[in-house]
């Protein structure tokens, strides 16, 4: 008996109600009575009546018992652990959770055993509660629906109403996701800015969260950790710039060639080939950058007497550039194709060569779309994580030299938040502040790009 069997049980009950609803409708039909809807709508009506409230209560209890228990269990955690500076709720919960699952790493403190036993008991109680609530709802409300059925009952209309409201509800998930993102970032960011002034975060020139301890918060002493995000943004900018230097010319020329010069066969071969580049996972690019491209550049650099860092911005940016070629080529290809044929014909009619039509007619006409594609590529490059984590390193150097090691916003977010962290420390909170700025920047870029595309589209339609 666990959550899964309960779920299957609920589904079975609603299936049963479908059967009964269907059967009673059929029996009415067999009595030569004229039904308002097809028989299976009666079955569906009863089944929906049974499954929706029961599933709702099932999920509600499942979600909220977790929230409730994880707070209640803190009663069992000894005071000295609760009050110690490196208290971390997530780790304590994971410790108890492991004990509940029967996974032990070495000796277990007594309170963990007590807490995990309590947790198991609570879980069982909540499961029993869930069992009774959901099953009784499934049976009871299903029965109410069943009672509603009579000859003139408009079951199809009711079923359709229920389904349409379910469809509407699912479209709210997208909004909830956004709200979730905003909330998860904003609150922690505000707490970060309560510790570190926003001016230091935005304009500070050194990023060094590694030595975070009690110094900053407690003693009022100028702590060892510094949170100036300028080097991170410079690094992000530098790597994105290198990526654009690679991808914009290649992407644009490819798009022009594919849409204007290539015949059908070339197009059908090279367009998908370029798109493969967009489908390769970023972790593969990261591996490629760190183990193939970076050593190549290092060796190549030392041949001509340049000192290239083993984790250079150049390698990461170059590989990222390869990755975003298809973003530029595909989108530009689309906008170039959307330029009306009549404009081209007018150009050819004046005796222009293809080259002249492209540079004087097509590119100016498609320029807004091309710019939008570049902006989208930039936002993609700024948000890219794995390549920079694996190839660009973590040294927060304030440097515009592409041969140096730099780090980026995303790389710092990942390194700070991966592994065990305490939610309270400024170091952890700084990741949320970084994420907030990252979201704001990419959203502005995206808004602008969509705006440009929209304006352009209206022009020709």
């Amino acid at each position: 008996m666990n959550e899964y069997t309960l779920l299957i049980l609920l589904l079975l009950i609603s299936l049963l109600w479908f059967y009964f609803g269907n059967k009673i409708a059929l029996s009415l039909k067999n009595k030569q009575l004229k039904l308002n809807s097809l028989p299976h709508y009666y079955g569906m009506y009863v089944a929906l009546y049974s499954i929706i409230p029961s599933l709702f209560s099932y999920l509600l209890i499942l979600v909220f018992d977790g929230i409730l228990f994880s707070n209640l269990i803190m009663e069992f955690v000894p005071k000295e652990i609760l009050n110690s500076p490196d208290f971390n709720k997530i780790i304590v919960l994971a410790q108890i959770d492991n004990a509940v699952r029967g996974i032990y790493f070495g000796e277990q403190p007594d309170w963990v055993t007590v807490a995990s036993n309590q947790m198991i008991e609570w879980n069982n109680q909540s499961l029993i509660l869930n069992f009774f609530c959901s099953i009784s709802l499934a049976l009871g409300i299903g029965y109410l629906g069943f009672k509603n059925i009579h000859q003139e009952f408009r079951s199809r209309n009711s079923v359709e109403k229920i389904i349409i409201s379910l469809l509407g509800l699912s479209s709210i998930i997208a909004i909830l996701t956004t709200i979730g993102i905003v909330f998860s970032v904003i609150f922690e960011s505000l707490r970060f800015f309560a510790i570190i002034p926003a001016s230091e975060f935005l304009f500070g020139l050194t990023w060094n969260p590694q030595f975070e301890g009690a110094e900053r918060a407690g003693s009022g002493q100028e702590g060892l950790a510094t949170y100036g995000s300028v080097p991170l943004f410079v690094g992000t900018f530098l790597i994105s710039l290198i990526a654009l230097c690679v991808s914009v010319p290649i992407g644009l020329f490819s798009a022009v060639y594919l849409s204007e010069y290539a015949n059908k066969k070339e197009r059908s071969i090279f367009k998908p080939l370029l798109e493969i580049l967009a489908g390769i996972p970023t972790v593969v690019y990261g591996f490629f950058a760190a183990l193939t491209v970076a050593p190549l550049m290092r060796n190549g650099g030392s041949l001509i007497g340049l000192d290239v860092a083993s984790e250079s911005a150049l390698a990461a940016g170059f590989v990222m550039g390869i990755m975003i070629i298809p973003f530029i080529s595909s989108l530009s290809d689309d906008v170039i194709n959307a330029v009306p044929q009549s404009l081209r014909d007018a150009g050819y009619g004046l005796g222009s060569t293809k080259n002249e039509v492209i540079t004087n007619v097509i590119i100016p006409a498609a320029l807004p779309g091309i710019i939008a594609s570049i902006i989208l590529a930039v936002s993609r490059a700024i948000g890219e994580t794995m390549i920079v984590v694996m190839a660009a390193g973590l040294a927060a150097n304030l440097s515009f030299n592409p041969l140096d090691a730099v780090t980026t916003v995303t790389a710092q977010i990942v390194t700070i938040l991966v592994g065990d962290q305490e939610f309270e420390s400024a170091k952890t909170l700084s990741a949320f502040a970084l994420a907030l700025t990252l979201i704001v920047i990419t959203l502005i870029l995206n808004f602008y790009a969509l705006h440009v595309v929209k304006k352009y589209r209206e022009q020709y339609e």
């Binding site: 977790g66 929230i67 228990f69 997530i90 919960l93 959770d97 349409i164 469809l167 509407g168 479209s171 998930i173 997208a174 909004i175 996701t177 956004t178 909330f183 998860s184 970032v185 922690e188 992407g251 020329f253 490819s254 060639y257 080939l273 370029l274 580049l277 489908g279 390769i280 996972p281 970023t282 972790v283 593969v284 690019y285 591996f287 490629f288 760190a290 183990l291 390869i322 070629i325 005796g351 080259n355 002249e356 492209i358 540079t359 936002s379 948000g383 890219e384 994580t385 794995m386 694996m390 995303t410 990942v414 938040l417 991966v418 990741a431 949320f432 994420a435 979201i439 959203l443 995206n446």
Partner: protein, 434 residues
Amino acid sequence: MNKNNSKMLTADEASKIVASSVIRRRKKNARLKTYGRIAIGLAVSFLIFLFVSIFSKGIPGFFQYYVTLDVFLDRDRLDPKGDLSPESLYNGDARSIVLESLYKVIKPKGRKEKKAAKKIISSNADVRISKMVLDDPNILGKIIPITFAVDDDIDSFLRGYIKRETPSSERRINDKVIKFVDKLSAENKISYKFSDYILTGSASRSPEIAGIKGAFIGSMLTLAVCFIIAFPLGVATAVYLEEFAPKNKITEIIEVNINNLAAVPSVVFGILGLAIFIGIFGMPRSIPLLGGMVLALMTLPTIIISSRAAIRAVPPSIKDAAYGIGASKLQTIFHHVLPLAMPGMLTGTIIGMAQALGETAPLLMIGMVAFIVDIPGGVTDPGTVLPVQIFMWADFAERMFIQKTSSAIIVLLVFLILMNAAAVILRKKLERRW
């Protein structure tokens, strides 16, 4: 220019001017065409370079070196309790039995040489024997040839990555070990064959026995959760927005919102999972259920956008015909529009799933980076996924992990290619031209 406009050119003069510039202009045109060709050539050669560099490292990763030894499977020492239970075999002395049969071949002298000889065979050899005995207890008491994986350093040496010429102090293996390996090669005890571990092994710190099975199953479980959540929700949202949503502010907000979600960097979804699902809902870390939920939220915009396009592509005549014979709006949609839009929606979904399969950053943040040896049995068991496994292996220093990482990448790429090919075939096969 003004000068030309002011007086009319004769036809001859005009054609002369044009003719004189034509060659130059054609050359310019040819130049642009060449630039285009070069650009595509560069992009394609990057692609080829990437694949060649991964495959040239990854294909050897599917193979490894083994040493074959005649092992006397002493019943009393392997199974001290005599009940053939896993615990009894675990307490048995398999390791020294393996070492003894190794000593018989290479005949080390003294403690130092014995210590060197120990380094040749993978530390997993005793597990292998226990497994064989559990599978077939009849082999106890016999002398049978068994192949064991060699240690990763020896493997790298045999592949030539660790050079004989390098001074002993800078090598990871010393001269004695090399002498023994030479002896084993001379007696034909060393073989190179398809790895037993890469596809069926689980995460391990010893590269010679590390495999991707656990990560692979974790990936499949995560993807299954992602699909179960994202596909119905995505299609339902698309249907609602295309067919039912009233044209008002709220609908507009939802639409803008979906477009913006598609642009949010994936790492932010990891933060969402960390702060909301783990922080507030108290879900355990590292489980495929959580990973699948985060990835579902990430792929939802892709699925919604492509599903809406597919629904929009169904011609209104189909709907009108359905309405004409008395179908309700919902019947029209579920019986006629959705089946016709399904290929398009599935294509978008498969592409979204392929994205989710390759995604790493958000999963790192919700703890799927933990070192987990057990193979997950369900969506609530801690596990890891293929891309994260690749990321972890890429960080390890042992030379053999580079090959193993490349092999894991090949498996991942094969799956992505299969999924994308399925999407293309689906689109080609079921696509209708109206």
